[in-house]
Amino acid sequence: MWSYDKSLIYPVKIKKSDPSLAKKIMSQFGGPHGEMGAATRYLTQRFGVPYGEITGILTDVGTEDANLHLKS
């Protein structure tokens, strides 16, 4: 269900530390309205969908939410 690639989807170079911004990004990552929740919702909703095509889309979009937005 979950596998990890040791690389980012897009290159990012952190040049200086910014704890205040880091805190906001962490919340966007796993907080109450974060990407982790969105990914989990897609991946949960796909179980109740009667169309294979939509199941596939929700699986892949949920995966990419975890990949693109959560990748770290």
Partner: protein, 81 residues
């Protein structure tokens, strides 16, 4: 850009293309042109990944299947680069 960054960027580039085309194909499964594009970038991805892994170490666990030493936990992690 260092050689390492450039080779990793190639992997990232082709992987991103694959992901994007895959999501398009989910709702356009009979699009032959998209399928061909998927295959083309798929080959490019595998080549770029092999080149990077041979030189700089694993990007995923399965890259270590042929190895004798577990280097997965060696630095750097993606956020440390």
């Amino acid at each position: 850009m260092t050689e390492k960054e450039e080779m990793l960027f190639n992997v990232q580039k082709y992987r991103f293309a694959l992901i994007d085309i895959a999501m398009y194909l989910d709702s356009h499964k009979n699009d032959k042109e998209a399928m061909e594009t998927f295959k083309k970038y798929g080959k490019d991805y595998l080549e770029a990944k092999k080149a990077y892994v041979d030189k700089f170490g694993p990007l995923m666990h399965s890259d270590l299947i042929g190895e004798s030493k577990w280097t997965w936990t060696d630095a750097p992690w993606p956020w440390e680069v």
